[in-house]
């Protein structure tokens, strides 16, 4: 899933400093799963903003709404009735795809991202999310024991581990596993280190990645 986290409250407050009527819009997709922008988090942010407005003695209405998804025009359409009530600001609590879809549909609205979209990953355990993919457009993890060195190695090495790998952690931080330590260990344990895994991996073709420009997928059979 896409993993995101809420922006600092001060930053969110600054977005609406001079606004009187605000709509907070959540999303039931990834951000609900990673506890960043579902119905519950929309409720929390809305109350925090209201309380803060009260404390500052200023006039502020905050409404809440959560869409099935914000990355689909079909659901964005659902906002029409609300948008017609004329809000001074819309805070989207979806991943950053959401606010872009809202802005595209409702051109006159002031739309703000309430989350920082961070990575594609999963929950390692409750409350801890880790990055696992960088969307390079040509998945090769089967060559690396099922682990992705592009997203998980700080240098995206094709032939690691680098000289900074120590005690299983990456040179950048003791909090980050060295994925190449895991890959190399697995290769040695499965007896592939000197055979199948012996030859060096070639230079990666990044043209399918973001480096090739913004990407688009067209599935003719689905396009109406």
């Amino acid at each position: 899933m896409i993993v995101a986290q809420r922006k600092p409250f001060e930053e969110l407050k600054s977005f609406i400093a001079d606004k009187k009527k605000v709509l907070v819009v959540g999303c039931r997709g990834c951000v609900t799963v990673c506890n960043a922008g579902g119905t519950k988090e929309v409720g929390i942010l809305a109350s925090e903003l209201r309380l803060d407005g009260q404390a500052a003695g200023r006039e502020l209405t905050v409404d809440e709404y959560t869409l099935e998804r914000q990355c689909d025009p079909e659901y964005i359409e659902e906002l029409l009735e609300l948008v017609e009530k004329k809000y001074d600001a819309i805070l989207s609590m979806a991943c950053s795809v959401g606010p872009q879809f809202i802005t595209t549909r409702y051109k006159d609205e002031n739309v703000y991202p309430a989350l920082n979209t961070c990575f594609m990953g999963g929950a390692q355990q409750h409350g801890i999310w880790v990055e696992r993919c960088q969307g390079c457009g040509n998945c090769v993890i089967h060559l690396f024991g099922g682990m992705c060195p592009i997203s998980r190695c700080a240098k995206s090495l094709q032939n690691g581990p680098c000289g900074g790998s120590s005690d299983g952690v990456c040179e950048i931080s003791k909090e980050v596993d060295c994925v190449w330590h895991l890959i190399a260990t697995k290769m040695m344990e499965t007896g592939k280190a000197e055979t199948e895994f012996g030859p060096a991996q070639p230079i990666k073709d990044w043209s399918t990645s973001r480096d090739g420009g913004p990407r688009k997928i067209v599935r003719e059979e689905l396009v109406k």
Partner: protein
């Protein structure tokens, strides 16, 4: 044992003749002062066979390695220009390789490069278009097949005739895999390899014995990295804070055993003992002296260790 010489490199000539080679290291200044490079170069001249010029080491901005390498060469010492994968994509790398060769660089040593998180520009976007293994392959392809990565041919005589260097670290993890990673570099076509600073001799010897067994030391020259300890504090810092360096407790104890003002001497003594041992270790073709910001100690070290051009014959 002498091997074929394929470039104009002085370092290659020394290594190929079977003599125990010695290389030094010079960190370019974080400014445009030519004088600083000239000053450091003075201590190295005549004492080593060639000198590594680091490429924005520890991700701190410094004079470019190519520029500093040329200043060094003007002073009469051959450079091992370093190039890291952190800051350039394949377009810039190939371009710089061609340029360096055109300007008279004979040795090019490639590294992944320290992550920018360590340096003074942690906000930078990193590149890592290719890794050091693939950069070695690329230089070899440009030199021996006279081709660029695009497939474009280089007219005969216009190819970069570089002696290709790389690094190996017997002290990083996983320990058993380190020699296999070095093997990838050898397979990719590296000509010489220099190691991370060695303090843990038993671990180094285990590594090099395996490299000899695998035939790696026949295909590339393995040089041993030496950095004398300056003090007990430095020994402790190396042990605890530098990833990929192993300092045995015996060395810490040995430094502890001498008074502060004698610790420099003790560090040099330990280095000389190590170098002597390296000379007698099968598979070790020379030593790489890393005395960054301590270049003035090089003349004393090579003399006491009986190393380098001034001590030969």
């Amino acid at each position: 044992m002498s091997r074929e010489v394929r470039t104009k490199s002085n370092l290659e000539k020394v290594l190929a003749s079977g003599q125990f080679a010695v290389t030094g290291e010079l960190g370019p200044p974080p400014n445009a002062s030519r004088e600083e490079v000239v000053e450091k170069a003075k201590h190295l001249k005549g004492n080593v066979d060639s000198v590594n010029i680091t490429d924005n080491q520890t991700a701190v901005v410094r004079m470019s390695s190519l520029a500093a390498a040329l200043i060094l060469q003007e002073q009469g010492t051959e450079a091992n220009m370093q190039m890291v994968c952190r800051d350039r994509n394949r377009i810039a790398m190939q371009s710089d390789i061609l340029g360096a060769a055109a300007l008279g660089i004979n040795n090019l040593l490639v590294l992944s490069g320290d992550h920018q998180k360590f340096g003074d520009h942690a906000q930078a976007k990193n590149v890592f278009d290719m890794d050091s293994v693939n950069l070695i392959r690329t230089i070899k392809m440009m030199r021996d097949e006279r081709r660029l990565l695009s497939g474009r041919e280089l007219p005969e005589g216009s190819e970069p005739r570089l002696f290709i260097g790389g690094a190996y670290n017997p002290f990083a993890d996983p320990e058993d895999y380190r020699v296999l990673r070095a093997a990838k570099k050898v397979e990719a076509g590296v000509d010489f390899l220099q190691s991370q600073c060695i303090y843990d001799m038993p671990r180094f010897k285990k590594f090099i014995a395996r490299a000899v067994d695998m035939g790696l030391t026949e295909k590339a020259y393995f040089m041993a990295g030496i950095t004398p300890l300056k003090s007990l504090g430095m020994a402790k810092y190396m042990k605890n804070s530098v990833p990929g360096i192993s300092v045995p407790d015996e060395l810490i104890e040995r430094m502890k055993g001498v008074p502060k003002e004698k610790q420099v001497d003790e560090g040099i003594k330990i280095a000389c003992e190590q170098i002597e041992e390296m000379k007698n270790t099968k598979g070790v073709a020379g030593v790489h002296l890393m005395l960054i910001e301590w270049e003035h100690m090089v003349p004393r070290l090579v003399q006491e260790a009986k190393l380098g051009p001034s001590q030969r014959k």
